[in-house]
């Protein structure tokens, strides 16, 4: 007896594969924006499935802030080698050295916003006409308005009030020279869907997502990892905790949570019982109510 419907994970997978194939068919020079986080790893995994038995036809592009977890860089290099893919790196340090951007000052200075310039420079320099991202609509209120194919003008800017309507499965990627698109194949996935799928497919992810012992300090309601970039306040003290990370960004802004989840099964169970959103531990989103929208308008991921 055959069943003629897909379960929801299969349907999400099929939708993402469809979008990735549309990117390949409609653009000349697409890349996958690869951060080393679970969402971009998922997109890469889906791209592998979409073009099997061919290799992934896209290079991976990493915007390197210089404030990385060493584990992320190791994971990136291993994955690129396994896939036989090309890696393009845009360096924030170079943007700083070239005077394109200046380091933020003050106590909570980060390189988060600086990435925008490096990203747009790398897109222009490599003549990229579509950057595929792991953004999800459930992450943040500005992202809830994103299209699968999202247009960026020749300044790399997003105009959320003037987006192309997207009907049925018809994706319009037409653009003029100098403009580019962002494509979001996992728009319709939630954090829980991502974990359930990673578990189902047994996708390899950086060790940072699993519970591990680490030196951390308590800051802005979460455990910030000790690194060469961390400047300790007088009142702060370094502690050793068993933690894991729910999202991965720069080592300077990514807070961990105390956890014993050291297998994918345990992580999925833990995420299902979470009472806080995953970006709650990201200080980049805490700056204002429209922090994400403001950055996205300028060309952020």
């Amino acid at each position: 007896m055959g069943k003629y419907y897909l379960n929801y994970l299969d349907e999400l997978e099929s939708e993402a594969i469809y979008i990735l194939r549309e990117v390949w068919a409609q653009f000349e020079n697409p890349v996958i924006l690869f951060s080393g986080g679970k969402d971009s790893i998922l997109v890469t995994h889906l791209a592998k499935k979409a073009f099997y038995p061919s290799k992934i036809p896209f290079p991976l592009m990493h915007v390197d802030t210089g404030h990385n977890f060493p584990e992320t860089i190791q994971f990136r290099d291993d994955l690129v080698a396994t896939l036989g893919a090309q890696l393009i790196v845009g360096s924030v340090q170079e943007s700083i050295d070239e005077g394109r951007v200046a380091e933020e000052r003050g106590k909570n200075a980060t390189r988060n916003a600086l990435q925008i310039t490096t990203l747009l420079d790398a897109i222009a320099h490599n003549k990229i006409d579509c950057a595929i991202g792991g953004g999800r609509r459930d992450e943040e209120k500005a992202r809830a308005k994103e299209r699968f194919f999202s247009h960026r003008d020749d300044f790399g800017q997003w105009d959320p009030k003037n987006q192309r309507p997207e009907l049925w499965n018809l994706l319009n990627g037409k653009h003029f020279e100098g403009e580019h698109f962002r494509a979001f194949p996992i728009s319709n996935w939630t954090e829980m869907d991502v974990w359930n799928y990673i578990l189902r497919e047994n996708i390899s992810i950086p060790s940072l997502y699993y519970a591990h012992e680490r030196e951390v300090v308590w800051r802005q309601e979460s455990w910030i990892p000790v690194s060469e970039f961390l400047k300790l306040e007088e009142s702060e003290k370094i502690e050793k905790k068993k933690i894991r990370f729910r999202t991965l960004g720069d080592i300077t802004i990514t807070g961990g949570i105390e956890s014993d989840a050291d297998t994918l099964e345990k992580i999925a169970t833990e995420v299902a019982a979470m009472k806080q959103t995953e970006r709650g531990n990201r200080s980049d989103d805490k700056r204002s109510e429209s922090a994400m929208e403001d950055r996205k308008r300028q060309g952020y991921f």
């Binding site: 379960n7 929801y8 068919a25 038995p53 959320p160 192309r164 009472k275 929208e293």
Partner: protein, 418 residues
């Protein structure tokens, strides 16, 4: 949650701020425990700042800065929640007349439409508009929520009168499945939990209805259509002669051994394998993404369609369609546009606007036929080369298209083939 069998249901909500649409969505998210503590804390703070009593559920659906400032929805926003039975995607669309294009967008992929009616006002112009769009876009299931029952003393008569009114005008529309529910989004009656104030209502609450809607039959299983997106040619040692036609099944069921015709060339062959990276498949049906290999070496590329030999779409260069105009530049008949239909792209023009339709009264206007933004009309389209079409009523994928303005690259219209 059963990962292996749980389905995905996409639904759209139509209504304006005053209908309590945002409150209803907030209530669904809140009562199904899909709201996180930090989201709740943020909304509680904002509610207090605005001087509301308790938590203003509508704030959960706040979007862009301008929308928060103006208290309106400008663009389609997507929301997600999951219950032990299903995953849900809500396309939250604004209900004002100037946003018809957003409603059409949200409706294009929906399995179900929630239409909100304010119990105090009954069926109004806007209700008719929402019902018309739901029927035009062939949303398989319509659920009419008569909201704010708390403000009419939970009166059965008020509810029954509205049902009668709605049935009266909707008999003119082509709707497959329609249900009615008396609710109070504000108090939660019949949203997730059964109302204690309306004993007279014997049906299920909204969430249960959404969890159990029969959607497996919504997709066309009869007419096998496979638009080719791209061709996979690995040219690696293990797959030296592999030539896989990659795409997503639009409708119907394909199996290895099936006799197929490739359109528009008309060559016939037999399916050798249906592949995914998880292995060869015994069958493929909508909306699966697969790669097909054929027994014969045929020249096939993007824009071609593989169909069953004994069931083919009609190749046409001229056809009628209902067109929804999406752009602020008025439609220009007899001007060239690009038409996107499945994975096929051709040049096309609007040969003629047959009539424009008043979406509030359903009256046809054959005198003023200018299609402006948010207008809907029947048109005749002519293309430079044949398209492989089905009627939209039979097939939402091979029966739909968009028009793109070559000068701006903007998507200017959405069409449903008649």
């Amino acid at each position: 949650m059963k990962l292996d069998t749980n389905q995905l249901l996409r639904f759209t909500t139509a209504g304006s701020v005053d209908d309590g649409k945002s409150t209803l969505i907030g209530r669904l998210l809140y009562d199904s425990k899909s709201i996180f503590e930090d989201q709740l804390a943020a909304v509680t703070t904002t509610s207090k700042r605005k001087g509301h009593e308790g938590v203003d559920l509508a704030l959960f659906t706040d979007g862009l800065k301008d929308e928060r400032e103006q208290g309106i929805t400008i663009d389609v926003a997507y929301r997600y929640f999951t219950t032990p039975k299903r995953k849900f995607i809500i396309a939250d669309t604004p209900g004002h007349i100037q946003y018809t294009r957003n409603m059409v967008t949200g409706a294009s992929t929906a399995n179900a439409a929630l239409i909100l009616v304010d119990a105090r006002h009954g069926v109004i112009e806007q209700t008719k508009r929402h019902a018309f769009i739901a029927s035009l876009l062939q949303i398989p299931h319509i659920i009419v929520c008569v909201n704010k029952m708390d403000l009419v003393d939970f009166s059965e008569k008020v509810y029954e009168d509205i049902v009668t009114q709605f049935e009266g005008f909707s008999s003119k529309l082509y709707v497959k499945d329609i249900q009615f529910l008396p609710i109070s989004a504000l108090l939660g009656d019949n949203v997730v939990n059964r109302s204690e104030n309306m004993d007279w209502y014997k049906g299920a609450p909204l969430l249960y209805t959404l969890e159990t809607l029969h959607i497996s039959s919504d997709l066309n299983k009869i007419d096998a259509r496979f638009p080719v997106q791209t061709v996979l040619r690995p040219q690696s040692e293990d797959f030296l002669d592999y030539r896989g036609y990659a795409g997503r099944i639009a409708s119907g069921i394909f199996r290895p051994g099936d006799e197929v015709t490739v359109l528009p060339s008309g060559f016939t062959s037999t399916i050798k394998t249906i592949d995914t990276s998880d292995g060869e498949q015994e069958q493929a049906y909508a909306p699966m993404s697969v790669a097909m290999t054929l027994v014969d070496d045929i020249d096939i590329s993007r824009g071609d369609m593989i169909v069953k030999k004994n069931n083919q779409p009609t190749p046409v260069q001229e056809f009628d369609a209902m067109l929804c105009w999406l752009h602020n530049a008025t439609a220009r008949p007899r001007t060239k546009y690009t038409i996107m239909h499945t994975s096929n792209e051709q040049k096309a023009m609007i040969k003629e606007v047959v009539y424009k339709i008043d979406i509030n009264t359903y009256a046809r206007n054959e005198t003023n036929k200018d299609l402006d933004m948010n207008d809907i009309g029947r048109v005749t389209i002519r293309t430079t080369r044949p398209l492989m079409i089905d009627e939209y009523r039979d097939n939402r994928i091979t029966g739909s298209f968009v028009l793109i303005d070559d000068a701006t690259h903007e998507t200017v219209a959405a069409g449903m083939i008649m």
